[in-house]
Amino acid sequence: MHLMYFTEQPMSAYPEQAGRDFGATALMLSNKHFDPVEGSRLYNNYIEQYMLAEEVGVDGIMLNEHHNAPFCMQAKANIFAALLAGMTKKVKIVMLGNPLPLAENPIRLAEELAMIDMISKGRLVSGFVRGGGQEQLATGVNPAFNRERFEEAHDLVTRAWTQTGPFRFEGNHYQHRVVNPWAVPLQKPYPRVWIPGVISKETIIWAAQQRYPYIALNTSIEQTKKIWELYDSVAADVGYVGGPENRGYLIQVHVSDNEEKAIENARQFRWMQGEFTGLAHPVWSTPSGYGSPSARRAFVEFASGRASNPRGETSFEQQMADLRIIAGTPKTVVAKLKRILEETRPGILALWGNDGRVSQADSLTCIKLIGQEVFPAIREIAKSLDLKSPFEANAPVHLKYSTDLKPRKAAAAE
């Protein structure tokens, strides 16, 4: 079991009323509401949190990035990854992840990641994401080619990491006449790649085809089970058996030394007006061409206010009841996490520990309790359930490095 700490790095000092008055807290909410003095204080708070996380024994620190919004202060995950590469000694630096389609020059991304891998002495896990719709708009990237750019940039980055240069890359979206980066990763064949996502079938299928672990982000137990059903079925098609080493899960968990305080602080998981990434126009979150064509009709109904969100809207209480938010003392938290481990069998678990305006003192207490009490108990449970991480299972980094493939069709012919 690989156990990680995560925070969205909330820009908690922004004036919420200004967002409510404007009607949006993402993309178009003016950056005049961003106070760099508070920004400086918060960035340093997050560094303190990560350093404590390493001290109390987490296996990994999960990083991400978003743009133009208070819900996440990281505009470039590689900046924090580089800091952690130099400042920490043991933790894995888990990028979940770099938004590939936003890269105009994926080779530069490959270089940055290779540097992080070398500086950290091989502790990089290089997850990749498509980036949300708003990230495309915030960076001027065409949402209609999001998936094509994702796959092509992935191809270019992994080739830059593994193929001896110089070589030439002539793609549909990326053309590079000289690919020959001198910074290459320390880990061979290349750093592990994990793919986070919610319920996008196309992404789950793609991750399973690559044999990359898929990290389900805060999905309900039922949704998570469906994700593994699909992943495992694709895995069987390409010739391997999906298991815990292919499965990751991120969940909002706040731990405190008393139950009431834990629940009060956990309400901050809904601090973005109850939305995952804040209030936004649906066409910002899902620009045309970004979503799956099969969801087009349901989406336009939602976007025009004729139907409720197809992804569902649930209250804090409902999310607590569904175990999508867990809060309490280590004992209650471990009991609830145990149920999730038993039902969905992940080999990678990330706890999203603190959000919104939870104080730094309470955040540090949460991290301490996670590292010293929750994770040791989870490790024991994981052992008893045989939930191995990709490291423990020595899983291949990519399908093409597998030595155990038995494609379904070939197996049937035998």
């Binding site: 178009m28 065409n142 066409v283 045309s288 061409g289 087009r296 009709r297 109904e301 976007a303």
Partner: protein, 265 residues
């Protein structure tokens, strides 16, 4: 005008199946007018199309990727559409047509004119995109809701209600999303203009009429001035009490301007 008889056909041009609406006098001498529609696609029938069809042989091809025409996934620019429409005219053996471009269709018409400046009789650009407005910016589809965007094309919202219904159907919303996706695919950056177009219009010696609604909130009127400067034989007409979609908001006034400009034959 309800009596105008429109035919529907599918014409293949450059390997792409284009949906074509056509109507007008059957006399062989009737001048051909090609109407190029907006980036929101087109309704099947519009009073403006009928008004033109009373005088001319009117073709309304649906752009590749819009309305009833299939989407070529290889397309990367608005100029690609212009080439395909040129191919359509070639397939139909039509020469010297008058090109009437509405908004985004105005951009296509201007590109078509620039690539074969001797092969058009008249150029009419109505609230045309395609040129970077010297002042102001073209309204951004990507951050505007479907209905808000469509409504922004109208000075009088009651007219929008008449054309699309106060609550446009889900079919209409879905079509706007499909059209929007195609616009992103070909006009994302720079958004809705071609930096080289004004420099390519100098050889277009056909008479040109640039028409703008006086309350166009989609394409700033400064772009009209730039078009008039770029086209050697252009003049400007401003239509009162009209937004960007002059064709839908002031169909009779627009048709009159065009008929006066092109002439009755």
């Amino acid at each position: 005008m309800a009596g105008v008889d429109w035919t529907d056909s599918t014409v293949e041009a450059g390997g792409i199946k284009l949906h074509l609406k056509r109507a007008g006098p059957t006399a062989k001498k009737a001048r051909t007018i090609v109407v190029l529609h907006h980036e929101t696609g087109t309704l099947d029938r519009l009073p403006f199309y009928d008004a033109l069809a009373a005088h001319y042989d009117v073709l309304v091809p649906h752009h590749p990727g819009y309305s009833r025409s299939e989407r070529p996934t290889w397309m990367r620019s608005v100029r690609d559409i212009a080439v395909i429409h040129r191919g359509l005219l070639s397939e139909l053996k039509i020469k010297d047509a008058a090109l009437v471009g509405l908004g985004f269709g105005g951009w296509i018409a201007a590109e078509m004119a620039s690539m074969a400046p001797a092969d058009l009789s008249h150029l009419v650009l109505v609230g045309a995109m395609g040129i970077k407005p010297p002042q102001g910016d073209i309204l951004d589809l990507a951050i505007t809701g479907y209905v808000d965007y469509a409504r922004a094309g109208f000075h009088d919202q009651k007219v929008f209600d008449r054309v699309y219904g106060a609550e446009p159907s889900i079919d209409q919303l879905e079509m706007w999303d499909i059209c929007r996706e195609m616009s992103f695919r070909i006009a994302w950056k720079p958004y809705m203009y071609n930096q080289t177009l004004p420099h390519l219009l100098g050889a277009v010696h056909a008479p040109a009429l640039v028409i703008w609604g006086d309350d166009d909130r989609v394409v700033p009127q400064s772009a009209a001035t730039r078009y008039v400067e770029a086209l050697p034989k252009a003049k400007l007409e401003v239509v009162k009490a009209s937004g960007h979609c002059v064709d839908m908001e002031q169909p009779d006034a627009l048709a009159r301007l065009i008929v006066d400009f092109i002439g009755r034959e």
